[in-house]
Symmetry: C2
Subunit: 329 residues, 2 copies
DNA sequence: ATGAAAGCGCTAACAC
DNA sequence: GTGTTAGCGCTTTCAT
């Protein structure tokens, strides 16, 4: 590997001068600079980023920690992160938390390899986060329940969103409303369910346990939930799927059985994924401001990096997106 | 920041001993090891990954360079890369090539921040690749045209795939076959088109220029291509969309116009994206072995890292996936 | 404007 | 088994 030393030698200058020249620091004369740059080019010199980061004690890069690099995840959110990072002249890398303690994510979280992290992964333990959180190592948690010191949370008001979804169904004349839930360890799911409960209660509708079925946030889960619901002797007139993925699967399962959406059953989802407006009928849902989540999280990182005081939690709100999957009774 | 020096001091040992203990190197006695680990824990010591990488001159991490972190991309492919990297005890990070010369990708490509790269991005120039390629810095290029020294290519036989798609249409009795192309600078597109041409020629069917329309590889492009085709006085009986994304858009556009697939027009795509089997009718297409592409690319990196001789190009083949969007005439 | 040299935090060769 | 120390490649202070 060719080092700056060799470049300096070839250009007949000291390493310090070479460093200045290569980094565009003004105090070096145009001619010397040219000499150095030329030598570097001839030797095909590539700086060693680590050495320089080590010395500077800053990496100018942020890590985005995902459950799994191969998705699925919200691309809008990532775009939000990316845009803000770029605006600040920072680089962004994404890494996977598969493997927990031994994951790439853990390596970046613990080994000072980045200046800050945005965590969008549930397979990284609270424990680990706690150990790593540090006043000058900003960590932003997306959609997480726990409060970890020196950590900030950005989340959507899932409960209010769940309420809105359920209320919209009620306002359309529905009272027999099922809830298809995500995994029980999901904070999002828990809150959406809480919103569902609250809305039923607010309108004096009794919650029916037989209509609470689990779908694991996956398309297949949605299908099987729909099948379970359809097989009961009393079928609900509307279903609130705790995410769109399940809703899409559920719609398909119903249609396979000859049950028409929204004529026979109304459906509302949560998230507003890209597909929501491409399915038939177009899915009515609760939109999460995904881009804003990513952008806010990243903004907060930079505030923290500047040692500004920030709130420990940051909450965004949801919107009801009315499309075609809910019928007025 | 607490360094290994402080840990050593607290544990009353030399830094080397601390280093050995922390890295699980056997030559240190259990008691000393315990002392060190304990001290590290108490001080909340986190190693500086750069310092250690710098010293070891190896990062044990690979970079996956994508056009844009926020997708879209083939998750199957990434899974292939991820699996193989993990098997070898390597970490994987993904980074974006947005910004070209100034992108994060460029930083990782040029600054020795990883041990190898897999490039799945068209916004990184051949020029840059050429400058960076080095016999002990493996770079694998996916779906690229150019031959760059010290670089290996993994690609799918797009031409043969294009041939297969077209031939299947012909074997189903079609002779009026349109081609909806991707961007003209795409190597994939070019080769798929070549396969289309070759098949027509092989079966003595004349190529009709009015039936070659551009769709830019996007869903919207597919829609507008379908509309253009539908508006002509002579409409083809079958269409080969150069990717599934466009095919899905095209199907939708036709259906909006009351044209039935496959009764009025047969459609075949390319890629076999996830959605292909969810649309109605299910899309007949040419499958790319995406997982295998990722896995092979990564395997090759490790071969190169071990200084084994590897072929400069590695070609995978496609499969015809017959579903419901092509009718026998 | 340029150079000499210290030192970032770590690993590993070497000495004991 | 443990300690001393050189040095990875770079930036930056200080002297000139």
């Amino acid at each position: 590997m060719v080092t700056i030393k060799e470049v300096a030698k070839k250009a007949n200058v000291a390493v310090s001068t070479a460093s200045y020249a290569l980094n565009g620091i003004k105090k070096v004369s145009p001619e010397t600079k040219e000499k150095v740059v030329q030598a570097a080019r001839e030797l095909n010199y590539r700086k060693n980023g680590f050495a320089s980061d080590l010395k500077r004690n800053s990496t100018k890069t942020l890590a985005l920690i995902l459950s799994d690099l191969s998705g699925p995840f919200y691309s809008e959110l990532i775009r939000g992160v990316q845009d803000v990072a770029t605006d600040h002249g920072y680089d962004l890398i994404a890494c996977s938390a598969i493997g927990g303690e031994n994951s790439t994510a853990a390596k970046f979280l613990t080994e000072h390899r980045v200046d800050g992290c945005i965590v969008l992964a549930h397979n990284i333990t609270d424990e680990m986060l706690k150990n790593v959180a540090h006043h000058n190592f900003p960590i932003i948690l997306l959609d997480r329940e726990i409060e970890v010191d020196s950590t900030v949370h950005v989340r959507v008001n899932n409960k209010k969103g769940g309420f809105k979804a359920t209320e919209y169904l009620i306002q359309n004349g529905h009272t027999d409303i099922a809830f298809v839930s995500g995994p029980s360890n999901s904070y999002d799911n828990k809150m959406r369910f809480a919103g569902y409960q609250e809305a039923l209660q607010a309108y004096n509708i009794e919650l029916q346990n037989k209509w609470i079925v689990s779908g694991n946030f996956t398309r297949e889960g949605g299908e099987s939930a729909a099948n379970i619901l359809a097989a009961q002797d009393q079928v609900p007139t509307a279903i609130f799927f705790a995410n769109d993925e399940m809703a899409v699967g559920g719609m398909e399962a119903f249609q396979k059985r000859g049950i028409s959406i929204p004529n026979d059953i109304s459906i509302i989802g949560f998230d507003d994924i890209l597909e929501a407006k491409y399915v038939y009928p177009k899915l009515t849902t609760i939109r999460q401001p995904k881009y804003e989540m990513g952008a806010s999280a990243t903004h907060i990182i930079f505030q923290m990096l500047k040692n500004e005081e920030v709130n420990p939690t940051f909450e965004l709100h949801t919107d009801l997106i009315i499309r075609e999957s809910v019928k007025k009774l």
